[in-house]
């Protein structure tokens, strides 16, 4: 992008935030923020599962670590000042990245199903720890977390986080590191023989992915104002997985489109007369059908913008 188009983009981005504050009702505003948070979670999972081919079912665990860290920090260290949220969310992301690194230590040898179970187990262990940790509310959850003062701020910061996540993960995907990961998941033994340390690459991929999972967690906590271990169960991981699969494993920008669809779609069905979460009926059906009809997701491994460019463009 040229400097001019960057400035135009920035102005539009900020202007939209201010404008939407007046033109959207609070229900739509809440949906917009939750779509953004979902897309950060999905991009984070997409990097580890789509790009690095490490099947993770533990998104909820990293999100939980980020959410709790950020929530506790704002309350106990930063006196509930909302402008510290970006900082605490960042610290939460770092703690989550560290957790991701720990998970990757024993699991670099594991593939496919086994890794899925270990990451799932990690998320469960995290949840049980928070469940038993009375200082952060135990099963009752953590209350009265400081929230954004208005929609514009929530939009600007969360939106910036989405853009940064997209930029960083996409840059890494097309970099030498992405090539390493791609080669690794094509043929580990050959990649190793050609001089790539398997474990180190996988650990780094985990670290990066869980960083953004934790970041999403921080924004989640301050968007909701309340978190509990129940919010970070297996179902959250599955929801994130479904978004990622729908967008296309390996298509970072696809995850954003898919999270719009999967955030809006269940809202349209909300009027159905049932007590059960409709999403949990619609999502799995969608997932099963996808696997049969279009297993590569909407965009496969490609990014959205490649569809607008002519053949041969870079």
């Amino acid at each position: 992008m040229s400097l001019k188009s960057k400035i135009i983009f920035l102005v539009c981005f900020v202007g939209l935030g201010i404008a939407l504050n007046f033109f959207l009702n609070s229900y739509i505003q809440a949906l917009a923020i939750s779509f953004m948070i979902n897309s950060i979670m999905a991009m984070s999972l997409n990097f580890i599962t789509g790009v690095a081919n490490q099947f993770s079912l533990g998104s909820a665990g990293f999100v939980a670590v980020g959410a709790y860290t950020s929530a506790v920090l704002t309350k106990e260290v930063f006196n509930d000042q909302w402008y510290f949220i970006p900082l605490t969310a960042l610290i939460g992301a770092c703690v989550a990245a560290f957790a991701g690194y720990l998970v990757s230590l024993p699991s670099f040898k594991l593939k496919g199903d086994y890794l899925a179970i270990v990451t799932l187990g990690f998320a469960e262990i995290v949840r049980v720890i928070f469940l038993n940790w009375n200082h952060v509310g135990g099963p009752r959850g953590y209350n009265a977390i400081v929230k954004w003062p208005n929609f514009t701020m929530a939009y600007l910061f969360t939106g910036a986080a989405v853009l940064i996540t997209l930029y960083v993960l996409y840059s890494l995907k097309i970099s030498w590191f992405g090539r390493n990961l791609w080669a690794l998941n094509e043929d580990e033994i050959a990649a190793e023989v050609m001089g790539t340390p398997i474990a180190k690459n996988k650990r780094t991929a985990f670290l990066i992915s869980s960083f953004f999972g934790g970041l999403a967690g921080g924004f989640y906590a301050h968007n909701m104002g309340y978190i509990s271990p129940g919010s970070f169960g297996f179902l959250l991981s599955v929801q994130v997985l479904i978004i990622t699969v729908l967008g296309g494993l390996g298509s970072i920008s696809g995850s954003i489109i898919a999270s719009i669809i999967l955030t809006v779609l269940p809202e349209l069905l909300r009027s159905l007369p049932t007590k059960v979460d409709v999403r949990m009926i619609v999502f799995p059906i969608l997932l099963i059908l996808m696997m049969i009809v279009r297993p590569e997701g909407l965009f496969g491994k490609k990014e959205i913008w490649t569809f607008f460019k002519k053949e041969g463009g870079s």
């Binding site: 890494l172 970099s175 390493n180 023989v193 050609m194 001089g195 790539t196 340390p197």
Partner: protein, 256 residues
């Protein structure tokens, strides 16, 4: 004086009581093409895997120049200067031909996370250089026309060739070829023979070759080491090996 580049001394390895490799010692001299042969189950591939770091020898020593290889992982073995190919070709099938080569080239570069993340000029320059280098390497082997096709769609013979090119890209001192003629017909084997001789002279490489195709080995190798049941039974120039009684027995069985 002949300089030795890789030396194995008294290497032993057993799997659960079965001695796969027993007291094997040999040396590879600089710039030579050494053939490693032996009947099925003689331990050739095991020796290969010990050298390239997949198996750890129980006892003995393996040195590449001054570097001891015994404790190194496969990726470190590559870093100190040994590249290999595989019996059953292991290319990165969905990566394009040129990316297979770039992958090997980029392992020799210290990348900076900062520059790659912000896509600085320095980073883009490095990427461009890698691609140019890969393409010029491919051109030598007339694979440059196919640079952007996925490597899995190449015909078998070209896949073999590309695997060798990829190994060359990591700039090795010693190139190990694991049964490169496997599954090739007569004319493909002829081409392979020329290819091996070409890279040996052109890149001033030392080559270790495991092969079943006796004709190929006898034709192109400078010296040959023969293994049988995990032990070295002979070593010498092709003419000596051809006449060696023990070798004939190992291959044809004892005449009674």
């Amino acid at each position: 004086m002949i300089k030795s580049i890789l030396s194995l001394k008294n290497v032993n390895l057993s799997f659960g009581g079965i001695k796969a490799v027993q007291d094997v010692s040999f040396e590879i001299h600089e710039n030579e093409l050494l053939g490693l042969i032996g009947p099925n189950g003689a331990g050739k591939t095991t020796v290969f895997n010990i050298i390239s770091g997949f198996y750890k020898a129980d006892t003995g020593s393996i040195d590449l120049g001054d570097v001891c290889l015994l404790k190194l992982a496969p990726d470190q073995v590559n870093k100190v200067g040994i590249a290999r190919t595989f019996q059953n070709i292991r290319l990165f099938g969905n990566l394009s031909v040129v990316e297979n080569v770039i992958f090997a080239l980029q392992q020799k570069i210290d990348h900076s996370w900062f520059h790659s993340l912000f896509r600085t000029k320095k980073y883009l320059d490095i990427e461009a250089t890698l691609r140019t280098r890969a393409l010029s390497l491919l051109k030598i082997f007339s694979l440059d026309q196919l640079a952007d096709t996925p490597s899995k769609s190449l015909p078998y013979g070209l896949q073999r060739k590309l695997e060798i090119v990829r190994a060359l890209a990591s700039d090795p001192k010693l190139l190990i070829l694991d049964e490169p003629a496997a599954g090739m017909n007569h004319s493909e084997t002829e081409d392979l023979k020329k290819l091996i001789q070409f890279i040996k002279t052109e890149f001033k490489l030392t080559v270790l070759l495991i092969e079943h195709d006796m004709k190929l080995v006898m034709n192109i190798c400078d010296r040959i080491v023969v293994l049988n049941r995990g032990e070295k039974i002979a070593e010498g120039i092709p003419a000596e090996i051809k006449a060696n009684k023990q070798v004939i027995e190992a291959y044809l069985g004892k005449r009674s």
